[in-house]
Symmetry: C2
Subunit: 411 residues, 2 copies
């Protein structure tokens, strides 16, 4: 796999299992291969652009485009639609997502690896800043390789306190660009026995730490088991009220849990970020579905970020795919994108390259769609509060109506 | 719009609002316009056929194909993948979904309209029977035009008791073909003051009525309001244990509610049917998302059925789209399809024509994916039981962490 500087390193080769296809972007593939009217029709279905609506492209400053060209990262920007209201001004927020591969082989000294990622991200964050991004979100555990597949404990050394060097690195950009930044790190909780968590730190636009959220749902997928390193979060479902709107973070595997998405919605989130690290063979067909479903069901924006590239480890391991031990988890397929409450979504960033995707979203769209579709009004939460309470009991009996003729032979 | 017999009737013309595109099937459009290797790659993403898996086409008996040709209905059949297990035999069930337009203008005498639908469905049900379908599901309120957009009360005359003539019509097929049939009707509950419900009747493979489920979530979308006719169902979330597996029915608008899908899963459903009647401008971009998300999140199969065509009413009405009064709700876009717990899905039936789609599914796949992805094990239902109980209280306060510098001016 080619790195953003054009240099080819053995550590980033594409897996040879045949499951990963060669194209870089579904959107571009279709655009290049379909007639314009067919492309438009397919986009209508795939990206939810009904009723003659169109995602407008945003013109970014030349400096951002120049950084993208110079550093070889994908750069895309769109604007979602919303109605003008009579009593509220539009509340347009510019949101950015950064996806990236790691910068050095996993065999390099840890501090070098981390610093090299900082260095690699700097121009991409600058491009976001130059573009006037208000809220920026990085991928899950962006400050390290996603080493949890190895089950080796030494990777814990990457963990930092919430106010550690990765946070400090980002705080200066938050101040410089008046930007809220969501930073998903491996956290070491010094004051509670040095335990480790998977944590998103929310940095305010003045560089202050507004708070943190710890990953609620921890994957056990086959023999891939992140609870080797950290367990289920203890921070509930906080919504962070920032200068640019109410935001929440559903970390990675939590996107498979509709209840997790729901809880952030009940607490008032207008944008829910899903910083992820997930590979093609496992989850790629789910990736365009789950966050978008959450945006529809909860009448908020969803922002999906996934890392890029294949990370090779020194010692082979098994990773839940039933294959013999091998040195990589698979291809992190990027494809970061946004989904909106009106069921529309942006195209995705590249499957293979670092990238920055930007969207302008009028947060008024959330309430407009609550009013239009009435999902909260028709939700009957009382039924489900009751069901879940009953389900928790050891003697729960499912509501099953059996055919009394079940064991009668057919005539 | 062309009827299945080739005759063109004014009542079935496509709307002229520009929102409805001309293609009949996304799958066929892509297949015809992309190079084979591109088509395969796009299918992998769109239909979730990862890891070299492929949906196998099923060879149906010639009699079924002949009926499809003769009557002009779309006929497609697929087989989902599952692993062989060591301790359980495969539990392969053949499931069919029928989508159709109405058969006579809405101005025809009501009994004629209903009988004409019976007549039109007969050969399609015969094709399902000839194909060995075990469980068949029809679309929402299949025995009438979907007149709830008119807000006129006279359409209530279509309502029937659970054991009414529509049930009797289907019972003979259930017996003849040893088939479970899910029949979504407008129900009149004689024993409770003749009140009306939106109800799915489950007919066992011996022709017996196993039970009924009443639509849990009733749409109010803009000024489209089905609660003019019936209110929220009072039958909970029953799972019906049939000769061919445990099934449940999430009627139409209930598909927008992840909690509704969840509840059927908690009660043990292996296949959840979503008989629907929904139009292009409102919901088409959500249609490929929601049932598929439910199949993934709940580790069961989902089966989506939507009606076909544009139904013209005698008196114009407004229908939530903000346009002046007009005589139709819009195009019911068909597109019936299946989704599986492994995130794969079949292509969809035609957007414009009547159709029968069939899939073989090994119900063992449900538990295989529960075991693999561990969603139930990692669900933390206790958190959500508690949250929903608190949310119901009038003094619920969302979990919000405000930036203390929220109102500080930027330097």
């Amino acid at each position: 796999m080619e790195k953003s500087n054009g240099e080819v390193k053995e550590e980033f080769k594409a897996p040879s299992d045949g499951s990963v296809c060669g194209f870089d972007s579904l959107h571009r593939l279709l655009k290049e291969n379909l007639k314009p009217q067919h492309f438009q029709e397919v986009s209508r279905i795939i990206h939810g652009l009904n009723c003659g609506k169109a995602l407008k492209a945003i013109t970014l400053p030349k400096s951002a485009a120049a950084l993208s060209l110079d550093r070889g990262f994908d750069l895309q920007a769109f604007s979602f639609n919303a109605e003008k209201e009579l009593l509220r001004e539009p509340r347009i927020v510019r949101v950015g997502l950064i996806q990236n591969s790691i910068a050095l082989p996993t065999t390099a000294p840890f501090l070098d690896q981390k610093r090299a990622i900082f260095e690699k991200l700097e121009p991409i964050i600058d491009a976001a800043g130059a573009s006037g991004v208000n809220i920026l979100c990085l991928q899950e555990a962006w400050m390290m390789p996603f080493a949890f597949c190895t089950r080796e404990k030494r990777w814990c050394e990457f963990a930092e306190p919430v106010d550690g060097e990765s946070t400090k690195f980002l705080q200066k950009f938050a101040v410089k660009y008046n930007m809220v930044i969501i930073s998903s790190i491996l956290e070491r909780d010094i004051n509670h026995g040095e335990v480790i968590w998977n944590t998103a730190v929310v940095i305010g636009n003045h560089g202050n730490i507004i708070g943190k959220h710890r990953k609620n749902h921890i994957p056990r997928i086959g023999d891939f088991n992140e609870s080797t390193y950290y367990v289920e979060g203890n921070t509930g479902h906080p919504v962070f009220e920032t200068a640019y709107g109410k935001i929440a973070i559903n970390i990675c595997y939590g996107r498979h849990h509709p209840l997790n998405w729901l809880a952030f919605g009940l607490n008032g989130a207008e944008i829910v970020f899903n910083p992820s690290a997930t590979v093609g063979e496992l989850s790629e067909p789910m990736w365009p579905i789950e966050a978008r479903n959450a945006a529809i069901a909860n009448s908020y924006f969803a922002a999906s970020v996934n890392r890029v590239g294949t990370e090779i480890y020194p010692n082979p391991f098994t990773s839940g795919d039933g294959k013999p031990a091998h040195p990589d988890l698979g291809l992190f397929y990027g494809s970061s994108h946004f989904s909106a409450p009106d069921a529309s979504s942006t195209p995705s960033l590249s499957r293979n390259r670092d990238g920055l995707i930007i969207a302008d979203m009028d947060l008024n769209l959330c309430r407009q769609y609550k009013d239009k579709w009435g999902f909260r009004m028709t939700a009957r939460y009382d039924l489900y509060a009751d069901l879940l309470a009953r389900y928790l009991k050891p003697d729960f009996e499912p509501q099953v109506i059996s055919d009394p003729l079940l064991h009668k032979k057919s005539s």
